[in-house]
Symmetry: C2
Subunit: 225 residues, 2 copies
């Protein structure tokens, strides 16, 4: 922990914790978590591996910092919106952030200590729901419900081997060809039907989100009654 001081004796810092985290994020975005090594981060900053340790406790600390950086990218709910608009906006923003940084999903499981951006986010959303008339418990339940859907959707999206409907069609054709007709008949049939109907997986997010928000509406109604 470097003592907080505007300027003191000692060598001036060429690096900073923020630079380290940003370099780490760039590497994870471009090449995935397995490419994120201390040496790789240091090279990107034109420094040596051990220099990072002046600004970061260890690699775990970097991973914690990365998760919080991702949370910092998520839009905070704007004032004056309805609870539905606020939750929708927040959910969409979360999904976008997790799409930009798919590696963050795997990190969330192992990292139990939430950072300030994460906590600030929870606080803001709970505040918005409270302002819209939700009691604390119902707000928490609603928030958890929406988050479950968003994280789960992001997780599934990340594990899909395609990004566009065209790619999906190609992959589906390959998958269909790979298996005999009797092996996975329903899966096969579904793959056919999806390709035929021009199914766009990325559009499913909004549809599902609307249904989940209907569920929140029910939660809210039964809390009032």
């Amino acid at each position: 922990m470097p003592a907080k001081r505007v300027r003191g004796p000692g060598r001036p810092a060429r690096l900073s914790r923020d630079q380290v985290l940003r370099a780490a994020m760039a590497i994870a975005d471009k090449a995935g978590l397995e490419a994120l090594t201390m040496r790789a981060v240091s090279q990107r900053l034109k420094a040596e591996a051990m220099s990072l340790y002046r600004h970061v406790r260890n690699k775990e600390d970097i991973l914690d910092g990365l998760v919080d950086l991702v949370f910092a990218e998520i839009d905070l709910p704007q004032r004056g919106a309805t609870w539905r608009a606020a939750l929708r906006r927040h959910a969409a923003s979360t999904r976008q952030a997790l799409r930009r940084h798919t590696w963050a999903i795997a990190l969330m499981e192992s990292r139990a200590r939430p950072g300030p951006a994460n906590l600030g986010h929870h606080d803001a959303v709970l505040g918005a729901l409270g302002a819209a008339g939700f009691d604390s418990v119902t707000a928490t339940r609603a928030y958890n419900l929406v988050n479950s859907y968003v994280y789960g959707f992001a997780l599934q999206e990340a594990s899909l081997p395609f990004d566009t409907p065209e790619e999906m069609a190609t992959m589906a054709d390959a998958a269909i060809a790979q298996f005999s007709a009797t092996e996975y008949p329903h899966l096969r049939e579904a793959a056919f039907a999806l390709v035929r109907s021009g199914f766009d997986y990325s559009k499913e997010f909004e549809t599902g989100l609307d249904l989940v928000l209907d569920g929140v509406e029910d939660l809210r109604a039964s809390a009032r009654g």
Copy 2:
């Protein structure tokens, strides 16, 4: 790839791919993914690290195998159930499996190639939904919706630092004490309210699942209309 043969010349195998995967799972369950090393697996089987490579391509292969082992633990939908009962049972079983093996959630993100248990599962559920009158596309959408919720819930559950309401109360008190009253006011208020009301996070799964299944109902209705 060892050639498929009932019994041929050569030394008899003391190890097998299945034993390797089971040992790996035991280690991951007990000590987490970071404890899962080739040497640790081999020691548990009283063998040397390099011996594993006769039965497994590399460590990635083990991880892929583990994910599929987890899927194999999930109940298949039983015949003759309503779609709602079938989806509910499948969802609950999936959540249980992911609770037993929380490390599997992080693995799912990176592993795009589904194994036979995974594919078989998808096929069975889609088949059950088809039998209940869902067309292929609607079945896929419904299945994805439920899976999003289940995976997301499991992910959040895994990242919680507590297991029981009592532990939650302890952690919440500690968290409340850690922050000033003005820092995260709504979060603080929610933490108070949750503890006061005896909130049990693990019970939230069923509640949320019901709401999601209501959403599936809507999906089904609008597909028919």
